[in-house]
Amino acid sequence: METFNNQDLENIINYFDLEVINKIDIDNTLLIYNYLLENGIYYANDILLGYIDLFFYHYQTFKKKFNKLVKYLGNNYLDKLENDIGLFELMHQF
């Protein structure tokens, strides 16, 4: 499991609007982050860095959307997500 390092934090600060960063709900973000790790998404750091918007969903909503994404991608969903993190964006449609 990867941990957050200074470079990651710098990327978050440089890469997102301060307005977006200010709206992050730490408790909710942590729940989602841990949920991703528990579900084989060992690169949860990168999802947070690249798709911070997904962490604005409430934890329960996020879980529902993630399960729909898993169902949509089928059996080898972990491989598919691992090879293209852009697939996480599909969660917005579910």
């Binding site: 990867e2 470079q7 990327n11 440089n14 890469y15 997102f16 609007d17 307005e19 977006v20 709206k23 709900d25 408790d27 909710n28 060992y42 690169y43 750091n45 990168d46 999802i47 860095l49 690249g50 798709y51 911070i52 918007d53 604005f56 969903y57 409430h58 329960q60 909503t61 691992e82 090879n83 293209d84 993190i85 852009g86 697939l87 964006e89 917005h92």
Partner: protein, 485 residues
């Protein structure tokens, strides 16, 4: 001042083009016309460089001191400029000279202390504070802020000498806000037996200074807080409220109902019992359609905003139908109205952006991004997903310019936008060096689309090392290639 003197001052004011009415009454009562003229005649105070220093504070200063203070060479040194504010007139020339000449200012760890608050302090106190040995210990460094000058030396020393700082548990408390607390309050709080329990470790943050020491034990012993259903509620924010306010919230009847249980999180302490009751007694929560809106984010909003937002007539029809989720509580009514009214939602290509995430943005930001010319170009249209609204215009521009320069612009996907320009450059360089094409079968190489952790775990490529090995040239992004972006 006699009426004759008043007339003299009026003439002086006329002579120096200064409004008589701007001279405070206490100045007329305490000072002679000569002293007023001595100050008004100081030429340097009329220059652009120093005119901002002419405020009511100046009347307390000695005219000869004013001239000599303004003549000091130190104002040519940028590090001292932060001291040159109207507060400087609290100090005499002697004091200004003595403080400025302290050798300690050559030590960079003290640079944050060069603020106008220093003029409140006696020179001897400034010297003694700077000489304290604790500043050699990095854990006390966060305390070196201008708030320190609001305290007297005894208080500063008394706080710094407390034995608690030897224990890492209390490191979180070594923040500038400690200077707003009296040593006796700090001691009373830290001596509390209840706080020594490891389970309360996370509650020991600077917010605890808001608490009344006599209430802390009572608060931690509130019986509801020991109930598992309230386990997510114990956070440092609890110290923002008094014991009675906390009790009132915990005794509200709502917490026995399943649908309200998820609302029991630490940010509830931003509200009081009355506000919570007003919000939770709204009729909407009886309807299934609105139940998903009951998440802790609701505590970021308020009763009136919630009512205004929910009574909007857009939620039952496209294109906004699916956007009403709890993330809307991160926004406010005016923002919601302004976003809804944007012209872009008439254009089908932009409606895919209408996800609940949109409420985390604002109309100006959305306009800035959606008015970019790139969205008229088919190469980039696939990048129009909700995530784009969390980026800044300049980040999008940088990534597009890099894609064009590296000749991969026709193959961009949303995962490309999840990278930084330095990542993209390093991956491209790495592939080129190994003669691996960046585009295979009309798709970007997998290295552009997978996560950094996957690159490391699966392909043994450490992106951070790669960025160091192949740093993006300084001017790489500066030569803009794309049309008007």
């Amino acid at each position: 001042m006699t009426s004759n003197d008043i007339e003299i001052v009026k003439k002086i004011c006329l002579k120096y083009n200064y409004k008589f009415e701007d001279i405070p009454k206490w100045v007329l009562n305490h000072f002679s016309p000569k002293r007023i003229e001595d100050i008004l005649s100081i030429e340097k105070l009329k220059t652009d460089r120093f005119k901002y220093l002419f405020t009511s504070n100046i009347w307390n200063a000695n005219p000869s001191d004013i001239e000599q203070i303004l003549d000091l060479d130190c104002w040519n040194n940028p590090k001292f400029l932060s001291l040159l504010t109207p507060n400087i007139w609290r100090a005499s020339l002697q004091k200004v000279k003595e403080i400025i000449s302290l050798n300690d200012w050559n030590d960079s760890k003290f640079s944050s202390l060069l603020t106008p608050n220093i003029w409140r302090c006696e020179v001897s106190q400034v010297k003694q504070i700077l000489k304290l040995e604790v500043w050699d210990n990095p854990k006390f460094k966060p305390l070196l802020t201008s708030n320190i000058w609001r305290n007297n030396l005894n208080n500063v020393v008394e706080i710094l000498e407390l034995p608690y700082w030897q224990d890492d548990v209390y490191d979180n408390l070594l923040k500038p806000s400690i200077w707003k607390v009296t040593p006796s309050k700090v001691k009373k709080i830290l001596a509390l037996e209840c706080l020594k329990d490891k389970k309360y470790k996370t509650l020991i943050t600077p917010s605890i200074w808001n608490a009344d020491p006599s209430e802390i034990d009572k608060i931690l012993n509130i019986k509801q807080l020991k109930d598992p259903k309230f386990k997510n509620i114990l956070s440092p924010n609890i110290w923002l409220l008094k014991y009675n306010q906390i009790k009132q919230i915990l005794e509200l009847p709502y917490w026995t109902e399943e649908k309200y249980k998820s609302l029991l999180t630490s940010n509830i302490w931003n509200k009081n019992a009355e506000e919570i009751t007003n919000i939770l007694s709204l009729p909407y929560w009886k309807e299934d359609q609105y139940k998903t809106l009951l998440t802790p984010t609701i505590w970021s909003s308020n009763y009136q905003e919630i009512v205004n937002i929910l009574t909007l007539d857009v939620w039952n029809k496209p294109p906004f139908k699916d956007t009403l989720t709890s993330s809307i509580w991160n926004s406010n009514y005016q923002n919601v109205i302004d976003i809804i009214s944007l012209p872009y939602w008439q254009d089908e290509k932009f409606t895919s952006l209408l996800s609940p995430v949109i409420w985390n943005s604002n109309p100006q930001k959305i306009k800035e991004i959606l008015s970019m010319d790139i969205w008229n170009d088919n190469r980039f249209i696939s990048l129009l997903t909700p995530t784009i609204l969390c980026k800044t215009k300049s980040q999008i521009e940088s990534l597009i310019i890099i894609a064009e320069k590296l000749d991969i612009d026709k193959y961009l996907t949303t995962s490309y936008l999840a990278k930084t320009p330095s990542h993209i450059y390093a991956i491209n360089f790495f592939l080129n060096e190994r003669h691996i094409p960046s585009v295979i079968d009309g798709k970007l190489h997998i290295f552009y689309n997978c996560s950094n952790a996957t690159l490391k775990n699966k392909y043994k490529i450490d992106i951070n090392n790669l960025i160091k090995l192949y740093p993006i040239p300084e001017n790489f992004e500066s030569e803009k290639k794309y049309g008007n972006i």
